[in-house]
């Protein structure tokens, strides 16, 4: 038989130990706050804005300017994609959107060329001065189709979003590095709403309409003038490039980044002719079955 003190110890000690578990940690734990200055001084001097600095020893403006003229070739048979909906058969607002059939602009090929391909420099060339933003450009929507389908603009340039339809459109952009634009544009608004991108994007961004989900377009804001969209027959031109070697990005909505770094050497005073071949197989979904048309409700 154990003594009383052992009894007490056996019962009390575990209880005390259990109670002690509650100590320490949790929301009341010790924390520290360290101040990080906004801009470390060393970084401030090294990071002079590229536009404001004098031309660096690298690509020299003194080297002169040249141009690029080119064509995006579509290798393969031109696909005949059926329109998103036929004339008069628009799933929403048929009276307005059904005035014309809505073309499927995902792959547009004419005379062996591929349209709506973005060719652009991912970054402004070093040593470029500040080039002022040009005049406002127009981004319209008619018969529930964005016009143009692919658009390049400069950072700071005003894009006037217009509406040529008798119904409202809710233009919604999805940029990565800018704030999204999400505004309803009044019917038949020819004054438009101003849309400006403050920062350059590295890849074209999609523009849609929240009311008419089939409406799609692509924007690419850049902070230099060396970007182009291939025309309906695949041709494009980029002027006044500083002489030297440049790496262009080539992008198409169905193929994504077709070329991450297309090297082009520009000589002063000359026009370089290039051809960019795009195989049909590079355009995703091209060789698959035709996309299923989802029947949208017809009560609108």
């Amino acid at each position: 038989m154990m003594r009383l003190t052992s009894h007490v110890a056996l019962v009390l000690l575990p209880i005390l130990a259990l109670a002690a578990c509650g100590c320490g940690g949790g929301a009341g734990a010790e924390t520290t706050v360290t101040y990080l200055p906004s801009r470390p001084d060393e970084v401030a001097t090294a990071e002079a804005a590229p536009g404001a600095a004098a031309p660096s020893a690298g690509e020299a403006i003194a080297g002169g300017f040249g141009s690029i003229k080119g064509r995006v070739l579509f290798q393969g048979d031109a696909p005949s994609l059926p329109p998103i909906y036929e004339k008069g058969a628009a799933p929403k607002d048929p009276a307005v959107c059904g005035i014309e059939a809505a073309p499927n602009e995902t792959i547009v090929s004419n005379n062996g060329g591929l349209a709506n391909v973005f060719i652009y420099l991912p970054k402004a060339p070093k040593g470029m001065g500040e080039v002022p933003a040009p005049e406002p450009i127009v981004f319209d929507q008619r018969s529930c189709v964005f016009r143009p389908h692919a658009l390049v603009m400069r950072t700071g340039q005003t894009v006037k979003v217009l509406n040529d339809d008798a119904v409202a459109h809710n233009t919604h952009t999805y940029p990565k590095r800018n704030s999204p634009f999400n505004q309803t544009v009044a019917p038949s608004d020819r004054e438009g709403i101003a849309l400006t991108y403050g920062r350059p994007e590295t890849l074209p961004l999609q523009v849609g309409c929240d009311i008419h989900p089939w409406m799609v377009a692509y924007h690419l804001p850049v902070d230099h003038p060396f970007a182009a969209v291939s025309a309906a027959d695949g041709t494009f031109e980029i002027k006044d490039l500083p002489a030297g070697k440049h790496d262009f990005k080539v992008w198409h909505e169905k193929g994504g980044e077709l070329n991450k770094a297309l090297a082009v050497t520009v000589k002063a005073g000359e026009t370089v002719e290039i051809e960019i071949p795009v195989a049909a197989g590079q355009l995703a979904g091209f060789q698959g079955p035709t996309p299923k048309v989802i029947q949208l409700s017809s009560t609108r």
Partner: protein, 435 residues
């Protein structure tokens, strides 16, 4: 009594076991950690380490916070080494200068950990332990998007908006009112939530900058290369075998080294400036929506005008909110594309920018999540609801008087009997009369 008496010695073994069990309490409490976004986890290891290092350098951990001066956050007190800004109107306050730097941030963190963490998560990702039981889910701050704001559509949320939400809660959701929290605590937790939102935005935007170094883009390249290889083989031409995943990861790591040295600091800087600019601009007076005209008289004529606008092609409210305001409009039956993509959601109906299914508000309940003042309803229509398909009608499509008419109509709906409207499809009528 015959038999052995109960020996106390038998207790010694169970008692010792119990004692040993209690030693579990001696272990250190696990510390809260900021979880990483999926997009960070999906980067190649070198890129991921760079992002994580940047985040820890500029924001710290929940135990060792970093108060970055570049962000428009009031940490409380005077930063060390920075002279206090003295203005003639506000001489340096003796009492506050005695407080250590970062005291408001510490208080905010404490209040957050005690009250908000279990739903909103340590990093404000809306995925705390209780979140799985809640519908709608708690807000994920990490996109920098808050729904119920007083600002224009492109602007961020203001401190006042967050203050209101903390004080009055969001009816119809699990966000309760913290009316009794106390002014200093509420202000502190609002600052901390803003800081968490900026942190989340920073992580997301840097991940976006490094999209080329993500495993998703590597998988994309592999599939493209495979397609090209198959196509070439089918055409009978010779083609390179598609590269292996590890080879591509190695290549990407090499490229990342150059990127890290040349472009990464600029990308981080640009992102930080962008975030700081936007959050600071939200506090400007010009960012806040105020009607230019007082509320139009709430009479039958105004409500009828509002009803006609509601059903018009200009505003098209009925497409989502239904012909009688039940939130069962035709848009809830469509398949909608995901934001910024042509791919559609797997299920019908509308979604918010966090990927959750979102039903348009049933306007007949008299439940106003963003506030029931006429000003609040005006703001919802004028500037839309950020992160949701509710568009911004003000300044472009609808004049202020039009918006007031719709406000009068909408705020009368809970008290009016439901009457099928002309042009309402029969299926909608049947659905609404069921309730």
């Amino acid at each position: 009594m015959p038999g052995r008496e109960f020996s106390m010695c038998r207790l010694s073994l169970p008692a010792t076991c119990l004692l040993l069990l209690t030693l579990a309490g001696c272990a250190k409490n696990p510390e809260a950690q900021f979880g990483w976004r999926d997009s960070t986890e999906q980067l190649i290891p070198d890129a991921r380490k760079a992002v994580q290092k940047t985040m820890v350098d500029t924001f710290g951990t929940p135990q060792d916070l970093v108060a970055w001066g570049r962000l428009p956050v009031e940490y409380g007190g005077q930063p060390p080494g920075v002279a206090p800004a003295e203005t003639p109107e506000e001489p340096a306050d003796v009492t506050t200068s005695a407080e250590p730097f970062g005291h408001q941030m510490q208080l905010g963190r404490l209040v957050y950990m005690k009250n908000c963490l279990h739903c909103h998560g340590v990093a404000g990702d809306g995925n705390g332990p209780t979140a799985r039981y809640l519908n709608p889910r708690p807000r994920d701050y990490r996109l920098g998007v808050f729904k119920f704001t007083s600002t224009l559509a492109p602007e961020r949320v203001t401190r006042d908006d967050l203050h209101r939400v903390v004080k009055y809660g969001i009816p119809g959701t699990y966000m309760p009112s913290f009316l009794l929290l106390g002014d200093a605590e509420t202000r502190a937790v609002v600052e901390y939530v803003r800081w968490l939102a900026m942190r989340g935005e920073m992580e997301k935007r840097i991940d976006d900058e490094l999209a080329d170094y993500s495993l998703a883009s590597i998988d994309d390249e592999i599939s493209k290369a495979k397609n090209a290889y198959e196509a070439a083989k089918a055409a009978g031409e010779s083609a390179e075998t598609p590269p292996s995943r590890s080879a591509l990861v190695k290549k990407a790591s090499e490229e990342f080294k150059t990127y890290l040295a040349e472009d990464y600091p600029e990308a981080v800087d640009g992102t930080a400036d962008f975030i700081a600019e936007n959050w600071a601009r939200a506090e400007d007076e010009a960012s806040v929506v105020f009607p230019k005209v007082a509320r139009v008289a709430d009479d039958a004529a105004s409500r009828e005008r509002g009803r006609l606008l509601y059903l018009s092609d200009k505003a098209k409210c009925y497409t989502c909110h239904g012909h009688t305001g039940r939130g069962n409009g035709p848009a809830t039956e469509d398949f909608w594309p995901k934001p910024g993509s042509t791919e559609k959601y797997a299920n019908r109906g509308l979604h918010d920018v966090w990927g959750n299914k979102l039903a348009p508000r049933n306007l007949r309940l008299g439940q106003y999540r963003g506030g029931r003042r006429p000003l609040d309803v005006f703001r919802r229509i004028h500037a839309g609801i950020k992160g949701t398909p509710m568009p911004a009608f003000g300044g472009t499509v609808l004049k202020d008087e039009d918006i007031w008419d719709i406000v009068n109509y909408v705020m009368s709906l809970p008290y009016e009997p439901e009457v099928p409207t002309a042009g309402q499809p029969p299926s909608q009528v049947a659905a609404s009369s069921r309730h």
